[in-house]
Symmetry: C2
Subunit: 291 residues, 2 copies
């Protein structure tokens, strides 16, 4: 007997590292998935010791444990999309590639996390990078590297948008079904999506401030959540980019370093909070639609 009068929402699996300050990694993914009204489940590839001030150490999950985590989940639930983030090492990347194939997982979005955002901590070992490039890439619906990650994966230099388009096409030649190369570090931020047929540029606004911790994780899990709900790739990317931008605009500080995005900016504004005073709320200001 059960009260299954409420149907389950689409289930999105995140395979990622755990960030205790919850701005990035598993927790950011789960918040993003929930904010899109999907249900998130999570295999943890590593525990990290970190605060908003940076990653202090990384404790990669044993491959056998990661395998058991994912198998237990997939034997129990049917997932509509998968987000892959930090993998840690070659062994874990191998487990993930094998299980993606064995369970024929749909809508796999790979955010190829290689280093911490400060750049000084390795989040995937060299053998893992090679495996990702040669094997895992073939099994994903979309890869979402930023420019430095695309450079590292492809062994090329990317200086402008034309080179970003070339990189996206190269990633698809290497086997990814589609690639989104993110140029957030460029003077005028622009992302390039190549879906195997055509390239599209997404021009964004630079959000002032430094509360961008976890924006890459958030973008890839937002895309996965949109794909889980049946959106086409291009619309999924567009909607996810808007979500990330708004979540950055509503960010707040929770530590001494770059703060997390505010993943629940929408529902916070819409819901009647319990125990929170009205003046503590920040209504979402929706700009008038432009022609």
């Amino acid at each position: 007997m059960s009260n299954h009068s409420h149907p389950a929402p689409p289930i999105v699996l995140t395979i990622a590292g755990f960030d205790p300050c919850c701005g990035a990694g598993t927790a950011a993914d789960l918040k993003t998935i929930a904010a899109h009204n999907c249900y998130g489940i999570a295999a943890v590839t590593a525990l990290t010791v970190q605060s908003t001030q940076g990653v202090k150490s990384v404790h990669v999950t044993a491959a056998a444990t990661l395998r058991a985590e994912i198998e237990a989940l997939l034997e129990d639930s049917t997932v509509a999309a998968v987000k892959i983030g930090m993998l840690g090492n070659r062994a874990n990347a191998g487990v993930v590639a094998e299980l993606v194939e064995r369970f024929k997982l749909p809508n796999v979005v790979l955010d190829p996390v290689l280093k911490s955002s400060t750049g000084d901590v390795e989040l995937l070992d060299a053998a893992g990078v090679k495996f990702l490039r040669e094997e895992l890439l073939k099994r994903v619906a979309l890869a979402t590297p930023n420019v430095p990650e695309a450079e590292a994966l492809l062994g090329i230099e990317i200086r402008d948008v034309t080179a970003m388009e070339a990189a996206a096409k190269l990633l698809v030649e290497r086997g990814a079904h589609a690639a989104l190369v993110k140029g957030g570090h460029l003077e005028k931020p622009v992302d390039v999506l190549y879906d195997g047929t055509e390239a599209a540029r997404f021009e964004g606004e630079r959000v002032r401030g430094e509360n961008t911790h976890g924006s890459g994780c958030t973008l890839s899990s937002a895309i996965a959540a949109q794909l889980a709900q049946g959106k086409h790739l291009r619309e999924a990317v567009l909607l996810a980019k808007v979500y990330v931008q708004k979540a950055m605009q509503h960010a707040y500080p929770i530590g001494k370093g770059p703060g997390p995005l505010n993943h629940f900016f929408r529902t916070q504004a819409e819901s009647a909070p319990r125990g929170v005073h009205a003046e503590e709320l920040h209504p979402v200001q929706v700009p008038p639609a432009e022609p």
Copy 2:
């Protein structure tokens, strides 16, 4: 330079084990904390392999890693409340007790998780149970055992509400500032709160169905979130119980076993359909696709 125009909400720290199906443990706590418009940060005491069908194995975090996780968080952020769940072993319980004391953590709610809900997997070792009873209990604002946990902690048998009241008082004599003994397994579910001065009974409705996975985790983190927002203990418990009951009523199946609570039932009901609202779309311009 930062966009700190949005002040941070109260920060609630959860110290708990990670459940990959996200109905219990860390993920349930973080969802609960977010649903209360607080910001959750999390120290992971163990990775578990589990699905809705039960816990298959437990991989306890090394005490030095747990210590580093918590220290990194507390040196970076000021927390308004703490929820302690699964600890795994004596070493981790010791780390937590020491850090609660050193950082003078406020509003500590201890959910003394001892076994998996199916009862067959130990989630705190025997030395940990002893330490919890003799040392950790003294450092908490509230302990929230269910009847079997209270029996195990106190070495007594609890058969009725009168015995629950006696147990709650005993837990306070042992050092807890207050105790909530949960009688969800009784024929007519009732919880007993003893705050050091008087006992109060909270009579609940039995929610039909079996989607109760993580209800204990959810209750204790909801109480912590209410305390973080300045609620008095009795009101915090009442509001948290209402929240858990509603979240159970809105539960849905996500696997073959007992499903998770629906932690976001409020905002889901109130928010617009899935996805991004059309008016939010204006900032990203998509130029026509290029060939």
